[in-house]
Symmetry: C2
Subunit: 352 residues, 2 copies
């Protein structure tokens, strides 16, 4: 079950080695319009060498749907992909999640390699075997658990990203820090977004990805412990879905950052999570991510979205909460009134 | 990996027990228009007892596609299905394959029970974890390997089936007999389609399903041995696809029966499979299934379809062949000219 995760800023050499080991009879690169333009040229010699076909999809979460999956599968079919072929998912979370799902279901599964080009996909989406697409207005509603045969993690493509994208991924690193312990977490709180050193950042990222790997390896299909990784995501997904409904989508990581605030409020109310750590996080989130605006009129819609979450058990909301930094408890059932109380505190902390 | 397969003609009691063990928070029955009318009423008391929701799809292979999967997932979503819910696939191969795929991908996988109502799905589709739908003109081109948590096998619903359906399933039993050995195979050749005893038939069916189970348990994801089960299917799928292209679809089992003839010709040419056994099978197939009409003008199209088969390795056709009854060899590469020669012999044997 151990996934082959390679941390290396010399991505061209690393990917060349991986593909030569896999010996696929055909190689397909999946990109979106952005990575095709900004990142794919870096791999030109490799593309020629292995006579790869390139499949390009429209970018963004709005295209993370079954219709795009069909488009990818059709391109694989027309390109003569067999069970022995390999798909390289080169892009952010949409490309790795959707490309992983397409590869995992095409001919009942062909091998795929993830090369995340955004911080968010590097730290979260590309590792751990969760693939899928949005459906019926809900995030990642259709998918499978299927591991990439290899994941190549680097920071070299991040320089092409807007700061917003970096911050979005950073929220997942914050979550990993909260799960890991004070030392890791404090390093993150003092991170300087204005001057990033690629190799130092790769070290921080390696530490963060390994938090996730350790958890996923113990519980690949999310029967228990893995739900720890949902920290911030139950409330976060509800914010994200609500933003979609408002036709003002927000970056995933921003929603997670706001979700972390809500869920640390719940942790504080129900598990004794220290108030000073809650305030510290809320301040960091507010200053770097701003706030997601809600009024008490939104509470019922948010609760409804939470009840529809994959993690929900009938009737009550189901959260992963913290007793302290580094001490997680999964499957915490919380009644609706307590969640509403947490939204109240969230609005206070976010100055709404 | 051992799948819970229950052989019992008292299906109502057996399913009641299974569902009570699974303790799903919601139960969904997936049927098609036919099984909703002919089979579902048999479960009425159970449906009420567990307050099950019923999802009904249009019948037939033409509806085994992603659009029907979307329809099922939407119904699950609207019906409030969670990861703890259970889907009961009540129907033939289309329902079990498609329902299995929908359940395996909805919220990245919820549990499903297969209750095959046709011989074909009982003997083949419902056991072994292959789920999927047709795509881009190819059979089962999109899908995943995912085991039902339980499969209830009975013969009690077969009396509602036309003889054609029984024969279609019987072709898969023939294949299992050919893989198992002379004793099992001979019992099948002397089967009397005109007077079927339900319980005696269940015994024969049990023997047949167990041939498949033993193979699947040793190789669940078709890395090697499981390809033995493709016997008859490489040529058979090509016939089936060609029939679809001609807008004159044929029952899957009929295509397999004709495919068995082609592949035993190849076995005879390349592996020394005894001629008398080839003639015996060809005669049985011709008298019960008739022939699929092809001329030498169809050979290139058929070869093209074979090359697009999931099992194909680039360049050559890949078959599972028999040295004798009970002695299979997987991954036999065969060049196009030899396949064409086998089509010639097939036409002779089928009096075309």
């Amino acid at each position: 079950m151990r996934q082959n995760v390679i941390f290396d800023n010399d991505v061209l050499r690393a990917l060349t080695e991986v593909l030569s080991e896999l010996k696929g009879n055909k190689v397909f690169f999946l990109t979106d319009d952005n990575t095709q333009k900004l990142v794919l040229p870096y791999f030109n010699t490799l593309l020629e060498e292995c006579q790869a076909s390139v499949i390009t999809i429209a970018p963004g979460d709005v295209n993370k749907n079954l219709s795009t999956v069909e488009q990818v599968c059709l391109a694989l079919q027309k390109g003569g992909a067999t069970r022995n072929s390999v798909v390289v998912n080169l892009g952010g979370g949409v490309v790795t999640d959707l490309g992983g799902f397409a590869a995992a279901t095409f001919k009942r599964g062909i091998r795929f390699v993830n090369v995340p080009t955004t911080l968010l996909s590097a730290v979260d989406a590309a590792v751990g075997g969760k693939t899928g697409v949005n459906f019926g207005g809900l995030k990642n509603e259709i998918g499978v658990f299927c591991e990439a045969v290899a994941v190549l993690i680097s920071t070299r493509f991040f320089s092409t990203l807007p700061l917003e994208e970096i911050k979005s991924g950073f929220a997942e690193m914050l979550k990993h820090g909260l799960l890991k312990g004070t030392e890791t977490y404090q390093k993150l709180l003092s991170f300087d977004f204005t001057s990033v050193d690629n190799d130092a950042f790769l070290n921080l990222l390696t530490e963060s990805v390994n938090v996730k790997r350790v958890i996923v390896e113990q519980d690949p299909t999310e029967k228990g412990l893995r739900r720890a990784l949902n920290l911030g995501h139950t409330a976060g997904h509800a914010f994200e879905s609500m933003a979609m409904e408002r036709n003002k989508p927000v970056p995933h990581g921003y929603a997670v950052a706001w979700g972390l605030v809500v869920e640390l409020v719940l942790s504080n109310l129900l598990k004794g999570f220290p108030s000073e750590n809650l305030y510290g996080l809320a301040q960091f989130v507010y200053s770097h991510f701003g706030a997601f605006y809600i009024t008490c009129d939104d509470y019922d819609s948010l609760l409804n979205l939470i009840h529809h979450d994959k993690k929900s058990v009938s009737g009550e909301c189901n959260f992963s909460l913290l007793k302290n930094i580094g001490e997680v408890e999964v499957d915490c059932r919380v009644d609706d009134d307590t969640v509403k109380a947490a939204f109240d505190v969230y609005r206070d902390l976010m100055h709404i």
